[in-house]
Each structure stands twice: as structure tokens, then as C-alpha cells.
């Protein structure tokens, strides 16, 4: 098993494993966020649980951060080798005749998602860490002490049309990334045979449905408040 991460096949396998992890995370993130559109109380309670539970905070959160960083770093490592493999480009290359634009531009859609994540961290994660671990306020309550703060903070963020638009564009790019990435991850772990054909349809549903759901949440709070 030694050196598996030094091989092209092994690196793609590692990339796929981190992708599976991130796709599961995305699904649970969506499942939590969608509650904000029909029950602020449910959203607040789940958010408080996730924000204060030691297992989530000290075990799952570091794993998530590692998974995100690993996926991006490995993406660049793979891209570096790919660029070296073809130093002289074709004068004419009809890529659209044999492959989709999204499959050829995973790095581009990935970079937009990376930029979005920086914005998302500045918007939510850093203030959350600041409140809980710098100021030491683990109560999750509003400054006036009247109920939890999570829903109010979410709604406040999506008052800005620029932020709402930026999030929506990023989710479109996320969808494009997933349209190729979902099935590509299965191919990289060797799951492409008669038993996995049904996954392709589910992959398209996931890749379009989840980002569309996130866009709905952003627009819902923007126009409702």
C-alpha cells in the first residue's frame, strides 16, 4: 500500500474519498439550513446543538476543515501534473465534440467555490468562532437574551442583495462542479458497472437539487425580510 498517494490512480482515489465526505457534509448542511425556511425555532435548536456539541466542534469540524483543504490542495497537485503532461497546446482543439465544458473546467468551478468559501467563512464561521471561543459566549443567545441568535444572524446576512447574488452565483458553479464531480468520484473509486448505472440519475438530481435548494434558502430570506 506504500506510495499509493504518489500514483495518479491513488491520488484520484483520495480526491474521490474527500469528495464523498464533502458531498455528505453538503447534504447535512442543506438539511439543517432548509429548516430556516419553515421553522426558525428548529433551525435555532439544531444550530445551537451543532455549534456547542463537543463531538461536532472538536472532532467533526477539524475533519471537515482537513477534508476541504485536502480536496483543494489535491486538486492543484493533480492540475500541476496535468499541465506538465502537455507543454505544447493544440492550435485547434474541439473539446466540445467529445466532452462537456463542466468536465474540462473543474478547476475553474473549484476556484469559484474556493472564493465563495472564503466569503462564507468571513460571513459565518469566523464571527461564530469569535463569539464562542474568543469572547467565550457559548450561550447562543441574542445580546438582549431574548432567544437564540442563529436565525436572526442568518436573516440579517441575506438582507444584502450583493451577498445574495454572490451566494447564488457560487451555488450555480457548485452545481456545475457536482454535475461532473458526483459521477467522476464513483468512477475514480472503480464504481462504474451495471450495478452503479442508477447512480448517474441520482447524481444529476443531487448536483442540481442541492445547490438549487441553497439558492432557494438565500432568496427566501432576502425577499422575506
Amino acid at each position: 500500500m506504500s506510495g499509493i498517494l504518489n500514483s495518479t490512480v491513488g491520488r484520484k482515489f483520495a480526491m474521490a474519498i474527500s469528495a464523498f465526505f464533502l458531498m455528505v457534509f453538503l447534504l447535512q448542511h442543506f438539511a439543517i439550513n432548509i429548516t430556516s425556511t419553515f421553522s426558525s425555532q428548529t433551525f435555532n435548536e439544531i444550530s445551537h446543538f451543532m455549534g456547542t456539541n463537543p463531538l461536532v466542534q472538536y472532532a467533526l469540524q477539524p475533519v471537515l476543515i482537513f477534508g476541504v483543504i485536502f480536496h483543494f490542495v489535491m486538486g492543484f497537485v493533480l492540475e500541476y501534473r496535468n499541465n506538465k503532461a502537455r507543454p505544447v497546446k493544440y492550435a485547434v482543439n474541439s473539446g466540445n465534440d467529445n466532452s462537456t465544458w463542466v468536465s474540462r473546467n473543474m478547476l475553474l468551478s473549484g476556484l469559484v467555490i474556493l472564493a465563495f468559501m472564503v466569503l462564507h467563512f468571513i460571513d459565518f464561521w469566523i464571527p461564530e468562532i469569535n463569539t464562542k471561543y474568543v469572547q467565550g459566549d457559548m450561550s447562543g443567545l441574542l445580546s438582549d437574551g431574548e432567544g437564540y441568535r442563529y436565525y436572526e444572524e442568518l436573516v440579517h446576512k441575506f438582507e444584502s442583495p450583493i451577498r445574495t447574488a454572490a451566494y447564488s452565483i457560487a451555488f450555480i458553479l457548485l452545481s456545475m462542479h457536482l454535475v461532473h464531480g458526483f459521477n467522476s468520484a464513483f468512477q475514480s473509486v472503480g464504481a462504474n458497472n451495471k450495478y452503479t448505472r442508477g447512480l448517474k440519475g441520482f447524481g444529476k438530481l443531487y448536483a442540481i437539487g442541492i445547490p438549487l435548494g441553497f439558492i432557494f434558502i438565500a432568496l427566501f430570506h432576502h425577499f422575506n425580510h
Binding site: I4, V9, L78, R81, R86, M106, N192
Partner: protein, 248 residues
């Protein structure tokens, strides 16, 4: 028909190349693409110019020598054929045709449109074979029962002619479809299972050493492969490789 050809000219492996424009007249639609190049070369020789160097051998789609990127696609605009099977009726009078060699670090240009594909040979030598005792007591292959589905898949994989269109079409110059076809054709048959672990590890190791890129699963290789080798072979190779790696 009259055509404009833009052809990659490169004197040798060390010098830089460039696209050079040629006009060719009265091309018959019934000509094969290589015959059209033969006519061009005859004209260049008569004008005491250097003819365009290009690879060819069987001219019937089997040897995989005619490695050309025509108008942005490996083996030209038609599906499931090599350049020697491409005919000029696929083009129109007045067309401009771009002709380039395969582009990959692992396929360095030797001259004009000819590339060195010996990296494929070295990958084959690393494991693309089975060891058979030929001392006189060899078991007849037909005496070994093989599941029809496996036999069909193995034969499909074995139709790979090693032309390199997969590498040429892949945006990363990945050789995964070629290597996967070779790994699959043996992995599916009982004779190949004996050395399956070492084979896949050694062939992938050699593939990486040659400087081919990673597989991004765009599927371009499958579309451009003149023999229609399926992406399922790459998934099989991934399974074989991962199992072999964990086995040690």
C-alpha cells in the same frame, strides 16, 4: 475540391515547430486522408521541398500508426475510425484543415506529424503479458471454461490498437484508457489473474513514470477511441489497482 492545409512542421525533436499553410487542388472526395497527404507530398517533392513526415503502416485501421489530430480531434471528425479510414468526402470544397501531431510530454515529436509512442511499449513491457510455460505441456486456452460475459469484455478491451488517440484527446494527456484496456483484457481471464496484482501496480507505475497526466473522467478518450474502448475499463483498472495496493 480545393483545400487549405495548415500542417505542423517540425524538423526534429529538439527544434521548435510551427504551423505551415499549403494549398492543395483537385482533391477527390474518394481519396483517403492519407492519400491526400501522399498527393501533397508528391507535389512538395516535385517542388524540391521537404515532404511532410507522417506515420502509417496498414492503412486499414488496425496498426494504429496514423497519429494525427485533424481539425481539433484525434483521427479527425468521424467516429470509430483511424485517420487512414477517414475520407475526403468528410470535408467540403474550400475547407481549411488543421493537422497536428499528438500533443503529450510522453509522446515527443520526432518529426512533423510523427511522435514517439515507445512509452506505450514500455508500459506493456512492465506487465502487459502473461507468463506461459512453453515447454510442451501448455494447456490449450480453449480447454479452460470462461464466462461468456467476461470473455466478451476481455475481447472488447483487447481490440485496443494502442494508437494513442485517448492520450491525444484527453485534456490531461492521460493514458488511462490504454492502460486500463491492457489491464482489463488480462484481469478478466483466468490466465491473467495469476499475475494481476503485479501487473496493474507495475503498469500504472510505468505509466506515471512516462509523464502522462491524471484521468479527470471527461470521457473524451472513449468518444475518440477508434475501437470504442469503454470507460468501464478505467473503473476496472482503478478497482484492480486499489485492491492490489491494499493487498501489498
Amino acid at each position: 475540391m480545393n483545400l487549405t492545409l495548415k500542417i505542423w512542421r517540425q524538423k526534429n525533436a529538439s527544434e521548435k515547430g510551427k504551423m505551415v499553410t499549403y494549398d492543395i487542388k483537385e482533391v477527390s472526395p474518394d481519396m483517403s486522408f492519407l492519400e491526400m497527404l501522399d498527393v501533397l507530398n508528391q507535389d512538395l517533392i516535385e517542388k524540391e521541398q521537404e515532404p511532410v513526415a507522417f506515420d502509417h503502416d496498414c492503412r486499414e485501421g488496425i496498426c494504429g500508426s496514423c497519429s494525427m489530430f485533424v481539425n481539433g480531434r484525434a483521427h479527425g471528425p468521424d467516429s470509430r475510425i483511424t485517420v487512414c479510414q477517414l475520407h475526403m468526402r468528410s470535408f467540403k470544397d474550400g475547407d481549411t484543415i488543421h493537422i497536428e501531431p499528438w500533443r503529450a510530454t510522453a509522446f515527443p515529436v520526432i518529426k512533423d506529424l510523427i511522435v514517439d509512442r515507445s512509452s506505450f511499449d514500455r508500459i506493456q513491457q512492465a506487465g502487459g503479458f502473461i507468463s506461459v510455460n512453453t515447454s510442451g505441456n501448455t494447456i490449450d486456452a480453449n480447454a479452460i471454461p470462461i464466462d461468456k460475459h467476461d470473455a466478451d469484455k476481455a475481447f472488447d478491451a483487447a481490440t485496443c490498437i494502442g494508437c494513442g488517440a485517448c492520450v491525444a484527446s484527453c485534456k490531461n494527456s492521460s493514458a488511462m484508457l490504454f492502460v486500463a484496456a491492457k489491464v482489463s483484457q488480462y484481469a478478466l481471464l483466468p490466465q491473467g489473474k495469476v499475475e494481476a496484482t503485479d501487473r496493474v501496480l507495475n503498469m500504472v507505475k510505468q505509466m506515471d513514470a512516462e509523464g502522462f497526466g491524471n484521468c479527470t473522467n471527461t470521457g473524451a478518450c472513449e468518444v475518440e477511441c477508434p475501437k470504442g474502448i469503454s470507460l468501464e475499463n478505467i473503473a476496472r483498472m482503478n478497482r484492480e489497482y486499489l485492491a492490489a495496493s491494499f493487498k501489498g
